[in-house]
């Protein structure tokens, strides 16, 4: 290499210190940038993000409108169904955002590159979490706006508790996403169905569309051990009775801490197990 070339800008990399918080944030940012590039690369993906929640919202919105004409006092309570579906979508879409983005790394056979780069596994998890919220915003903001325009339901009417509801649902979605990602790491893409189906397990248990009291006693215990149950109960309490019990949310957030810990532990264990059995070498389409 000639001297002139060596002197050229870019001939040598300027490598920033790899340790510390700023290095971590830089790597998380780099990975989030990768996901933004990915979304930008496909208009279809962008439309798809909005398409399904929009259809769901329309279906439940019209059902709500129809029931409002009946005599049931519950059905006449403004926005309960549409509120349920919007909150459920926060949980479901955030989970899908987390898990499918991880699967995308496997589909594209990029995981080997990532896991041999300076990126730490917890930074990968942070990047997936941040991205799931960005993706969720892209998906839910237009749909929530449409719910207001078409059915006069304003999600913001839930007030300050909405922030807490959002936090609880997103944290739960990350816990499920971590478990799905771990299992897929360990057992390969054959287990990818789990990413789509695990969140649905919560649908009947979290009492999205009905109160906890509907469940048999023993199942109520299970339901109350799940953070999203407290969100849906809280939402109904606000919309139907105009009351809100903050203790329930603290309870839900504490449960979230436990589930997140379990989720990360599961992911770490399965990642370690994938390193032991060599499956990281065989991941791909």
């Amino acid at each position: 290499m000639s001297t002139a070339r060596t002197a050229r800008s870019g001939a040598e990399p300027i490598v920033l210190p790899p340790m510390g918080l700023s290095a971590s944030l830089r790597r998380i940012g780099a990975l989030v940038r990768r996901y933004i590039y990915l979304l930008r690369s496909s208009g279809v993906r962008l439309v798809e993000l909005i398409y399904w929640p929009f259809l769901q919202m329309l279906t439940w919105g019209f059902l709500q409108k129809y029931l409002a004409g009946t005599t049931s006092p519950l059905a006449q309570a403004a926005g309960v169904l549409i509120g349920s579906i919007l909150l459920w979508d926060i949980l479901f879409r955030s989970n899908i955002g987390f898990a499918t983005t991880f699967i995308e790394e496997m589909w594209s056979r990029n995981l080997g590159n990532l896991l041999t780069s300076p990126l730490r596994p917890y930074e990968l998890v942070f990047a997936l979490s941040v991205w799931s919220v960005i993706r969720l915003s892209v998906s839910m903001v237009p749909v929530a706006t449409a719910a207001y325009l078409f059915f006069g339901f304003n999600l913001l009417d839930l007030g300050l508790p909405l922030v807490a509801f959002f936090a609880v649902l997103v944290l739960t979605s990350w816990s499920i996403g971590l478990i799905s990602a771990g299992v897929i790491l360990r057992y390969g893409l054959g287990a990818e169905e789990l990413a789509w189906s695990l969140a649905f397990l919560l649908l009947p248990l979290c009492c999205v569309y009905y109160p906890v009291s509907v469940l048999p006693g023993w199942l109520q215990v299970v339901a109350l051990a799940l953070p999203p149950t407290h969100v849906f109960e809280g939402m109904r309490s606000i919309l139907l009775h105009n009351t809100f019990d903050a203790t329930e949310l603290w309870w839900a957030l504490s449960l979230n801490a436990v589930y997140l810990f379990v989720g990360y532990l599961t992911f770490s264990r399965f990642l370690a197990s994938a390193r032991v059995n060599g499956s990281l070498l065989q991941l791909g389409e």
């Binding site: 290499m1 060596t6 050229r8 800008s9 870019g10 001939a11 040598e12 990399p13 300027i14 490598v15 920033l16 210190p17 790899p18 340790m19 290095a23 830089r26 790597r27 940012g29 780099a30 990975l31 940038r33 990768r34 590039y37 990915l38 690369s41 496909s42 995308e104 594209s108 056979r109 990029n110 995981l111 080997g112 590159n113 990532l114 896991l115 041999t116 780069s117 300076p118 990126l119 730490r120 370690a272 390193r275 032991v276 059995n277 060599g278 990281l280 070498l281 791909g284």
Partner: protein, 283 residues
């Protein structure tokens, strides 16, 4: 970790310390490295050390243990026994301390197909912490002649173009240790030759250490200062290419390779050991 493994690891660690290879200047020090998958021993108690600024080839047939060895050096696969030190760091535990000093390329991994080449390189420049990412990418793109590809989707490139882009990613941080698994696999002779020239230039210009897993003899003869010959997970020779040819009494590395994979022994023991694989040489 059971007692036997723990004891082994401690023993290996002690040996490495005694040998002075926990030194951060030593790119790679491997001691008694073993990988067992169920009933299959993929890598069988191998030990070697890479000196700075050398190019070493891991040569062996399919299933000889080359890829598994490289994967263990990278921390992608955990050893069953033994120890890997990269720049003095135990790669199983402290990969983060040294990951920015190495890089790798392999046909077993790809860069995301739906991103452009420039986007992919930008992402990896961020992951490797490059402050001058745009300039570095421009420089590497010119050097590897991928400028016209920068704004094309990575998934739309030919195999040769993908290899060059993969190499660009591997050279972004100008790694002190570059691990390459079959760097010219499935390339036409012209492109393969071009890649080899670039690797040689890189090693010369940056004084980096290269470990190349290959079963391409031309590649090994052209690039390597030293050849570690693997057979059934074991090191059976660790020599310069010339010395290896002489030891086996052959005219080329290819003939040596055929001797090894077909279980023929070295010339000096031909008469007595003709049907057995060559004896393992402990390095």
């Amino acid at each position: 970790m059971d007692e036997r493994v723990d004891g082994f690891a401690k023993q290996a660690g002690a040996s490495l310390a005694e040998a002075g290879v926990m030194d951060a200047r030593v790119p790679v020090a491997v001691r008694d490295l073993t990988k067992i998958y169920g009933s299959v021993t993929a890598v069988d108690h191998i030990s070697f050390r890479l000196e700075p600024s050398t190019t070493v080839a891991l040569l062996g047939g399919n299933g000889a243990g080359k890829t598994t060895t490289i994967a263990m050096l990278l921390g992608l696969v955990m050893p069953s026994f033994g120890e890997v030190r990269v720049f003095g760091a135990d790669i199983s535990r402290n990969r983060g301390e040294v990951a920015h000093r190495l890089n790798f390329q392999s046909p077993y991994v790809d860069l995301p197909a739906r991103l452009t080449v420039r986007q992919n390189l930008t992402v990896y420049a961020g992951l490797y912490g490059l402050a001058n990412a745009a300039e570095r990418i421009a420089y590497i793109a010119e050097d590897l002649q991928i400028e016209p590809l920068l704004d094309r989707l990575t998934g739309k490139l030919s195999a040769g173009q993908k290899t060059r882009v993969g190499l660009a990613k591997a050279l972004l941080n100008a790694p002190e240790l570059l691990l390459l698994d079959e760097p010219t696999a499935s390339l036409d002779p012209d492109t393969a030759d071009w890649i080899r020239r670039k690797l040689k230039d890189y090693a010369r210009a940056h004084g980096g250490t290269l470990l190349i897993a290959s079963h391409n003899m031309t590649e090994v003869e052209r690039l390597a200062d030293r050849v570690i010959l693997l057979h059934q997970g074991r090191i059976i020779e660790d020599e310069t290419p010339k010395a290896l040819i002489t030891t086996f009494g052959r005219k080329s590395l290819e003939e040596v390779f055929l001797d090894v994979v077909r279980g023929r022994a070295k010339r000096d023991s031909d008469d007595t050991n003709g049907d057995q694989p060559p004896a393992r040489k402990v390095s």
